[in-house]
Symmetry: C2
Subunit: 136 residues, 2 copies
């Protein structure tokens, strides 16, 4: 199984990382995710790393890349489910995951994304009408 | 990484299967899922197998087991994201996944679970008040 599945959940995409991200897999995840954001018009990306016991600088960079790419396509990235030990390691490695939002679990991550979208729409006030066209 | 993460999304649990389920992993997934259903009071379990290219009789049995166990704890199981080739193989193997609901993707699976819960509540008409107790 060579692909990490990307699940669409309403306006968000959810990725669960369960396997070690080696170079090629990481690159294909980046490419797939950006394409999915583009195709689905997703407003947020949730990356669940609750199964990840070790985060090294490579993985930190991949997450940072995904966040930057998504940001350009107008989607925010939230990393969820980080294990306490991973948080300790990241800071000790000097990798504070700049530019990436984090949340304790998927539900809180979704709430965070929802509130960000809401803020966005309040600013712009024009994107909410898409789903409101009914046949009668 | 030896554990398949189980994500709580509202009243449902979501499991994404990305790695080959060998014996021990499958058994620990079964145990973890049943415990999570018990702990969170989840009403539905979504199993995403979009990354699974090959389903054999062992995996079919595991999915059937999970569905039966969850059912006893009052949670329905929906398998989502099955690849067309997998559907062909399952039928050719004579494994029609009896007792398991399926849906094309996570969103449709959630809709299916929501409608099942709704039906349930209409029948019983007593479970909706849990969150309605406010401080004033």
């Amino acid at each position: 199984m060579e692909k990490i599945p990307i699940l669409k959940m309403g306006p968000f995409l959810l990725v669960t990382i369960q396997v070690d991200l080696y170079d090629r897999l990481a690159l294909s995840l980046e490419a797939d995710l950006v394409q999915m954001v583009n195709k689905t018009g997703a407003r947020g990306v949730l990356i669940d790393i609750s199964a990840v016991a070790i985060v090294d600088s490579f993985m930190g960079r991949i997450i940072g890349n995904i966040a930057s790419m998504s940001k350009i396509l107008d989607a925010e990235t939230v990393v969820v489910g980080m294990q306490p030990a991973v948080a300790i390691t990241l800071i000790e490695l000097g990798l504070p995951l700049k530019g990436v939002y984090t949340a304790l679990n998927v539900e809180r991550g979704m709430n965070l994304l929802n509130s960000m979208i809401q803020l966005d729409e309040d600013d712009e006030g024009e994107e909410e009408d898409d789903d409101r066209i009914h046949s009668e």
